[in-house]
Amino acid sequence: MKTRNLILTAAAAFCLAAPAKAQEAKKNVSDTVTFTVSMHCENCKKKVENTMQFEKGVKDLNVSLADKTVTIVYDSRKTTSAALKESLEKLNYTVEEKARK
């Protein structure tokens, strides 16, 4: 009985702790970066979207043609803002990191 209680307590503690830990881990690895990119047309927007969404570590993406910005939410364990900037530059755009949060 004692063993059973111990297991149940351990299981409960794990269940409670796990999401908190996961949340903490998630919080730590997600980062957001905004680049100013020299895009000029709808085709550029599609090109950036189609390329960047499949880059390693990219979790979310917003491309604004009106603002000429690319905002990327990424997993900092898998990539860096410098690597993302380089990927954008490979598409023959002038890229400048605008703001970070």
């Binding site: 979310d60 993406l61 604004s64």
Partner: protein, 753 residues
């Protein structure tokens, strides 16, 4: 070749020619908004042109001579957007605003179809997202998710799909490929197969009175297809599709820039039925001895060229060729002694077209456009002992001058057109009871016309457009086509439209009723050469309510249209179950169509679209000078559909499900115009598809007709196909049941510009 080139050079379009205009962006404090981003957008939000202001806020941008949206943004200022009409304000004033980077709008889930709030006509657009919601091998299959158009089947043997709009057959819709008339006359039934959805960028479906600039043929509306642009997307596209019946489909698109001014795209398509003959159980699930779907071999090629000159001249050439063979009918079984009923259709189609436009004179926004198109279609078809050998040569030439009176609040388009339509039909029926020898029904029409259309934008939020054309047709003489459209948007959330207009159509009853060849009915063709041109008035109104939400808009559309025929070709299959009569409408014929649809993004990634439409059409049959008005057979009284689409972050996984509820339709009487009315069942069809996107490829699996609904006994008297009662034309539901399919789409190579 030299002649071809010469002819090609003669060919020439109507485009809204961009004009460079200068303006300035200022902050509300009067200081220039340096380096502001300026974009000119189409009604569908696609970009026309983009630029940046200089340090003093000045910029020059090319704007089209029509309505467009101007979007301006600058760090530190609120975004600015305004509807403009061929011009820009002298100064654009932006409001100061603090930057809040928390408000990042993540990649929006794209709706597959949307309703225009800018165009004077009611218009639904289906974009690439909509075109990939289902397998959509051919254009006719692209409308399963559309509330506006529906599809029906011509007969139970070939399973050829036909479209319907406003409760009337697709023959009353004018179909255009980049504003050039296509899929008409002899090509009406099969043309839909020659434009694979994979080749297209978008489809625009407009209801009600169309512009007079494209001719007199539109009665219920227009469908315009736009092909993938050689200046957009990756250089290479390829896809492959197959289903559980091994109906296999493949497409490719290759784009290339040639020098500084030319761009080209080559499109290819093939459909092949790969199911071995031995797998008879898979071919005939209902056990009537007839294959449930035809064996198809189809190859289409198309080459499109765009020339963009320095002086604003723009020219687009297209050449296409298609060949199709379709085998259907009874399957060979062991021990069969009698002659088999076989259907064989061979089609050859060839088209060449050009659209050219250029700025004309000193006036801003003034231009001339010329369209030339030549097409040839040949159909050799045998249905048991009935046959039709037909050809059509069609030329369309249209010259348009676009300008304005005083200022751009008073625009007009005027021009002239010429059409030649030469049709040959050789019909025969060798059934002993019918014995119609080979008989020719040929038709030649020359049509020359002039038109003018005036659009008034002088009152805010109101557009009034009125057009008139007069054509002289060598067969039907003078045809007068007035059309009128109005759009009023009293507030941002409400758009109201009304339209009225007349349309004409020269019927080709044999090829347009090819489904009736799959019967033992005797064709009474004595009236064929005496048929009038079909003429109808169409009136309608629609209302769009757009309620902005945090994520997207909730869009509610309600519309109502009525079509009144003044003259119509009646195809009477109800007087006698063993006969078909063609004659001019003696009494009245009209159709009503009402529709309501709602679209919304429920939460990030989840979109919802629902449509309900009610149709009813009446026609009058005439016998011995007595008219019998009945509800048109085989037109569903209502149809509703619900599409739910969920896409994960960045659309890497997409889940689509569509449920269609098809209402009952009246079945044709088999024993004269007796009032014993029979109706079909109401049935449900379920579509579902899952798509996984990778960088260069997307893979999808899906199912059509998941609940496996099939029409019971779609063929009457299948055991005696050469007997008196054989009839495979009364089809209101799928003959083929559940169909599981899978496919892959590849996009690779450099990005085009």
């Amino acid at each position: 070749m030299r002649y071809l080139l010469s002819a090609a050079l003669l060919f020439i379009s109507i485009s809204a020619f961009p004009q460079n205009v200068r303006s300035r962006v200022l902050g509300d404090d009067g200081a220039p908004a340096a380096f502001a981003n300026v974009a000119v957008l189409n009604p569908d939000s696609s970009l026309v042109a983009g630029t940046s202001a200089d340090a003093d806020g000045f910029f020059i941008i090319a704007v089209p001579n029509r309505k467009f949206t101007l979007a301006v943004s600058c760090v530190g200022y609120a975004k600015f957007s305004a509807e403009c009409d061929g011009r820009l304000p002298e100064n654009i004033v932006l409001k100061k605003q603090d930057i809040d980077l928390k408000e990042v709008d993540v990649t929006a889930h794209t709706q597959g179809q949307y309703l225009s709030r800018i165009d004077v006509r009611q218009m639904e657009s289906i974009n690439r997202t909509g075109l990939t919601k289902l397998a959509c091998c051919s254009l006719s299959e692209s409308f399963e998710n559309s509330g506006t158009t529906g599809t029906t089947y011509s007969d139970a043997i070939t399973g050829t799909r036909q479209i319907q709009m406003l409760g009337l057959s697709g023959i009353y819709v004018q179909t255009l490929a980049e504003n050039i008339p296509v899929f008409r006359g002899l090509n009406y039934l099969f043309g839909w197969n020659y434009t694979p959805a994979a080749w297209l960028k978008s489809i625009q479906i407009s209801k009600g009175a169309a512009s007079v600039t494209s001719g007199y043929e539109s009665v219920t509306g227009q469908i315009n297809t736009v092909f993938a642009s050689p200046a957009e997307g990756r250089q290479f596209y390829a896809d492959v599709y197959t289903d559980e019946y091994l109906m296999t489909d493949a497409n490719f698109v290759v784009k290339q820039r040639v020098g500084g001014k030319w761009r080209t795209a080559l499109f290819g398509h093939t459909t092949q039925s790969l199911m071995p003959e031995s797998a008879t159980q898979r071919h005939d699930r209902n056990g009537d001895g007839f294959a449930d779907m035809p064996k198809v071999r189809n190859i289409n090629l198309q080459n499109r060229w765009i020339y963009l000159g320095d002086n604003g001249l723009q020219s687009r050439f297209a050449v296409s060729a298609a060949t199709e063979k379709c085998d259907a009918g009874q399957m060979e079984m062991d021990g069969m002694q009698h002659e088999l009923y076989k259907t064989q259709i061979e089609n050859v189609d060839f088209q060449i077209s050009n659209k050219t436009g250029f700025p004309f004179g000193q006036k801003d926004g003034q231009s001339v456009g010329l369209i030339n198109s030549l097409s040839y279609h040949k159909t050799d078809a045998e249905f048991g002992r009935k046959s039709l050998y037909a050809t059509e040569l069609y030329y369309y030439g249209n010259l348009i001058f676009n300008s304005h009176i005083g200022n751009e609040n008073h625009k007009y388009a005027a021009g002239v057109s010429y059409i030649f339509d030469g049709l040959t039909n050789r019909f025969a029926d060798r059934l002993p009871k019918n014995l119609t020898p080979e008989t020719d029904f040929d038709k030649k029409e020359h049509s020359a016309g002039a038109f003018a259309e005036y659009s008034n934008y002088s009152v805010d939020n109101l557009i009034i457009s009125a057009g008139l054309r007069a054509d002289y047709n060598s067969r039907y003489h003078w045809l007068l086509t007035p059309r009128f459209n109005v759009k009023y948007s009293p507030t941002d959330i409400l758009t109201i439209r009304a339209s009225a207009g007349r349309g004409y159509r020269s019927a080709n009853p044999l090829s347009e009723n090819l489904g009736l060849f799959s019967t033992s009915r005797k064709f009474h063709t004595d009236q064929l050469q005496l048929l009038d041109i079909e003429a109808a008035w169409n009136y309608g109104a629609n209302l769009i309510l757009t309620v902005p939400t945090q994520r997207d808009n909730i869009v509610l559309n309600i519309d109502f249209y009525r079509t009144d025929f003044q003259s119509r070709t009646i195809c009477d299959i109800e007087r006698d179950r063993h006969a078909v009569f063609f004659y001019n409408l003696g009494g009245k014929s009209h159709a009503y169509a009402a529709q309501a649809d709602l679209s919304a993004t429920l939460f990030k990634g989840l979109t919802f679209y629902s449509a309900f439409r009610y149709n009813i059409q009446h026609i009058s049959y005439t016998q011995n000078a007595e008219n019998h008005t009945v509800e048109s057979p085989l037109v569903n009284r209502f149809k509703s559909l619900v599409n739910v689409s969920y896409a994960t972050n960045m659309r890497k996984w997409i889940f689509d499900a569509t449920v269609q509820l098809n209402g009952k339709c009246r079945l044709p009487n088999m024993d004269g115009y007796a009032k014993t009315e029979r109706y079909s069942n109401t049935y449900t069809i379920l579509f579902a598809q899952i798509t996984k996107r990778f960088k260069f490829v997307e893979i999808y699996v899906g199912a059509e007709n998941l609940t496996d609904y099939r029409q019971k006994n779609p063929i009457i008297a299948p055991d005696a196909p050469f007997g008196d009662d054989f009839d495979a034309s009364i089809v209101y539901a799928p003959v083929v049941g559940r169909k599981i399919y899978a496919g892959a789409r590849f996009n690779f190579g450099k990005y085009m510009d």
